[in-house]
Symmetry: D2
Subunit: 132 residues, 4 copies
Amino acid sequence: MAIFSLPFEVRDYELDFQGIVNNSVYLNYLEHTRHKFMYERGIDMTGLHNRGIDLVVTRIEMDYKLSLRSRDQFKVTVEVYPEGNLRIVFSQQIIRLPDEKLILTAKTTGVCLRNGKPARPGDVPELQKFGI
Amino acid sequence: MAIFSLPFEVRDYELDFQGIVNNSVYLNYLEHTRHKFMYERGIDMTGLHNRGIDLVVTRIEMDYKLSLRSRDQFKVTVEVYPEGNLRIVFSQQIIRLPDEKLILTAKTTGVCLRNGKPARPGDVPELQKFGI
Amino acid sequence: MAIFSLPFEVRDYELDFQGIVNNSVYLNYLEHTRHKFMYERGIDMTGLHNRGIDLVVTRIEMDYKLSLRSRDQFKVTVEVYPEGNLRIVFSQQIIRLPDEKLILTAKTTGVCLRNGKPARPGDVPELQKFGI
Amino acid sequence: MAIFSLPFEVRDYELDFQGIVNNSVYLNYLEHTRHKFMYERGIDMTGLHNRGIDLVVTRIEMDYKLSLRSRDQFKVTVEVYPEGNLRIVFSQQIIRLPDEKLILTAKTTGVCLRNGKPARPGDVPELQKFGI
């Protein structure tokens, strides 16, 4: 199991008419953190795509605890672990700073496609860098 | 239980570098359909907000079955039902047209806040139009 | 000169904390209308990209006259004409419905790249469908 | 004349099907930098809005020189100056790092509204912090 964390700050264009970050924007924060986590391990999502390999999300669960507002500082964490032979799970949290209040928890499940067909992550050399 | 359906078409700015609709965009489709469904019942989300009433999402579950691509036609459905005294659940599907392939299922759970404090949806006259 | 028009409705996720459509969203409306206009002429932007041909925007000018708000209906128009040998200009308007108030005017200038190098639009068979 | 600069990194969800940052996303970068610039001078856009004061964009000009791609580092600069009695102009550049290549130049013109009516920026105490 690996842990990674990335700092963020709310940008005003991410707010909706209620003055809080729109629900869909949290998926952007979560995805960017997963990609940065992978890049740090040498897994380049856009490069993999050009070689016919895509990590595709099959399920997302998100629990919203508190809303983020204009200029809030926060961090997004990610842990990764396998689920069965085919699935990879990313467990993530969004934590406001500096008060460490939990904003959101998320579980994202993905599968690996090679040329459009399911592949075991363990059989894809580029993904062995996950260490799972 | 109420049923509502709204037609959409993929717009190219919604595609990501993989040429498929980005995961976060589906939340926009789902939210827009919920709002249109509520407006049709006389529930105006931006008007409610100006009177101190907000429907806030507490949990989202999404299962991605297939990807949408450039120019795909699809519809988004919504059903609504109560869960306990405080929660409202929106059950939604995204269905590609004309082949009726299931693209995504989603369950969104929300609570009602009046001046920032939880309120029973049944006690908020504006929400009785849900008929739940 | 060709004219094309597409109807839209404001979606609440496009509003910002001021309760009006965020400035950047107008570029999405404009782009979607240009792409639909081209598709109708048999010019498929994502298909062209896969054959090494990209239409790339080099300049955008937008004049904001009025703001769009929740649930506003509007249309986006587009005309296209050449500018010199290399540039294509899209002249667009956003017009609120049904009162026909002018919301925004925009001029978008683009060039054609074939395998990353500038090409005369007139030398690209796929673009001759513009009729310019 | 004041100068301010903010560092950014491209996030993969900002890429379009061409693998480059979508045109509309540059407006987000520019707006966020303007807001951070104003916050640093004690001008809180969301706070002003709650007191009936809005800075509204009336014109945007952007010249796209080069495209940003996955993981590119860049900075956005802003200078501000008055234009006549009513208008404020923000002159901005996007510069890729570390090679200092110019990606985009932009000129954004805005006016100040107090309770929906035009006001001279010089008559709005909260805006005198611009020092223009």
